[in-house]
């Protein structure tokens, strides 16, 4: 997994590329930390370039959402497609975290 953070105004944008699996949990911690320490009230996680996600990856997204909420922030997912979108729909993550196409 690779990630790029763009912060400006009310939104912090995190682009995640490659695969998001259990092996990425240490690196993803930096994403969670960046969102929580940001001044932005909304975090947008862009999955447009994410090729594959496993259940741990979904678990990490849910964890990021939980911690952001505790910090009074909102998270939304954007750009998910193919396998990633199917897994999001199957796991009904879209009922917990808003998903935008």
């Amino acid at each position: 997994m690779d990630y790029k953070i763009e912060e400006g105004g009310a939104i912090i944008k995190v682009r995640i590329s490659g695969v998001l699996t259990f092996d990425d949990h240490e690196r993803f911690k930096s994403v969670v930390k960046a969102i929580n320490e940001s001044d932005s009230a909304t975090a947008e996680i862009d999955l447009g370039e994410t090729k594959m996600i496993d259940s741990a990856g979904i678990g990490m997204l849910l964890l990021a959402n939980d911690r952001a909420k505790k910090a009074g922030k909102e998270v939304r997912l954007t750009g998910a497609n193919g396998h990633v979108l199917k897994v999001i729909q199957l796991s009904k993550v879209d009922e917990i975290i808003p998903v935008e196409s």
Partner: protein, 349 residues
């Protein structure tokens, strides 16, 4: 009806006057026609009743067949298990719900696993801080011990004046040793806790790898299963609708057939009207034959013949038949209003 033996009176009866050949011929022909008509009426009635029975049986069989078909289809689309009946169409939905439940549990475990690792990582960071503090304490203690040693040396040089100070420096050395022992125990505890936490993290990682190996983690199999179940569900719903449509068509066809057979049976009941007409003709023939047999001498008598005509017409209940006979026997056109015949006289079956 009377049977006739031409010119052969029964025993004990008065002799019958000799008739003309034509009268005998007419009498014979009328008697035969009467018998043939009566026989034909019976035949038609018997056959009509038989046909009617067959058609009625056909209608009942058709209705039973449709009912059995409905029951069979109901059995095909359901499965019984433990006294409960499951609709086949709902089975993929049950499987989907079960799959959804399993997926949700995997996600909860995944999330909790990652959250646990993150928490343990944070604890490890704190423990590292504690270990660093212990290191600092040890460094300070080393420094203290060195100072204590220097104090002892200086106290020795001072001689008797430095005796008290030497006692204090020795107490300091003793304290330093105790601090060493304490930091050693703390380092050991920190090492054990760190080892345990790393062990827990390692086992969680191993469990994730095992889950990955059986494909529970990447959810691909669940995605495929969900799609296949959706296809299966749609196919089953479509097939069920098709069966219901076909069953509906079959029921409609059976109903139409039953109605048509009913119409046929109703149409055949008008055989009874034919029977009444035939019986009217037979009755007329019977009276003519009786008259000729009993009153051959009155054949030329106008009054007797008019009485016979009136008797024949009076015995006919069907108006159209009566009109026909009236026209042919009296030559008069009768302007009787067309009234429906009394249908209650028709014996329905």
């Amino acid at each position: 009806m009377t049977g006739y033996a031409l010119n052969q009176p029964e025993v004990g009866m008065p002799p019958v006057p000799t008739r003309s050949p034509f009268a005998r011929l007419l009498l014979g022909a009328l008697g035969t026609a009467e018998n043939v008509l009566a026989e034909t009426t019976r035949d038609v009635e018997d056959q009509t009743q038989r046909l009617s029975g067959l058609f009625t049986s056909l209608t009942e069989n058709s209705a039973e067949q449709t009912e059995r078909l409905g029951e069979l289809l109901a059995q095909i689309t359901t499965v019984d298990h433990n006294g409960q009946s499951f609709d086949l169409v709902t089975l993929p939905r049950i499987l989907q719900e079960s799959l959804q439940e399993v997926t949700e549990r995997i996600l909860v475990l995944s999330k909790q696993g990652v959250a646990l690792i993150y928490s343990l990582d944070e604890i490890l960071e704190e423990i590292d801080e504690v270990a660093s503090c212990i290191g600092e304490i040890e460094a300070i203690n080393r420094q203290t011990r060195l100072l204590s040693l220097n104090a002892q040396i200086e106290a020795g040089r001072a001689g008797a004046a430095g005796v008290g100070f030497q006692v204090v420096s020795m107490e300091m050395q003793s304290l330093s040793r105790r601090i060493d022992a304490l930091s050693g125990r703390m380092r050991e505890s920190v090492g054990k806790v760190t080892g345990s936490i790393r062990e827990v993290i390692g086992s969680i990682r191993n469990e994730y790898q095992e889950l990955s190996e059986i494909g529970a983690m990447d959810l691909s199999s669940q995605v495929d299963a969900k799609e296949q179940l959706e296809v299966l569900l749609n196919a089953l719903v479509e097939r069920n609708n098709e069966i219901q449509r076909e069953l509906g068509n079959s029921t409609d066809a059976s109903r139409r057939m039953a109605n048509e057979i009913h119409d046929v049976v109703m149409a055949m009941q008008f055989q009874d009207r034919m029977k009444q007409r035939t019986e009217a003709v037979i009755g007329a023939f019977d009276q003519i034959v009786s008259f000729m047999g009993d009153h051959d001498d009155l054949a030329m008598d106008e009054t007797s013949c008019e009485a016979l005509t009136a008797s024949i017409l009076g015995s006919i209940t069907l108006s159209d038949v009566r009109r026909e006979f009236q026209r042919s026997l009296t030559g008069a056109e009768v302007s009787e209003p067309d009234q429906p015949d009394d249908m209650s006289n028709i014996e329905l079956f």
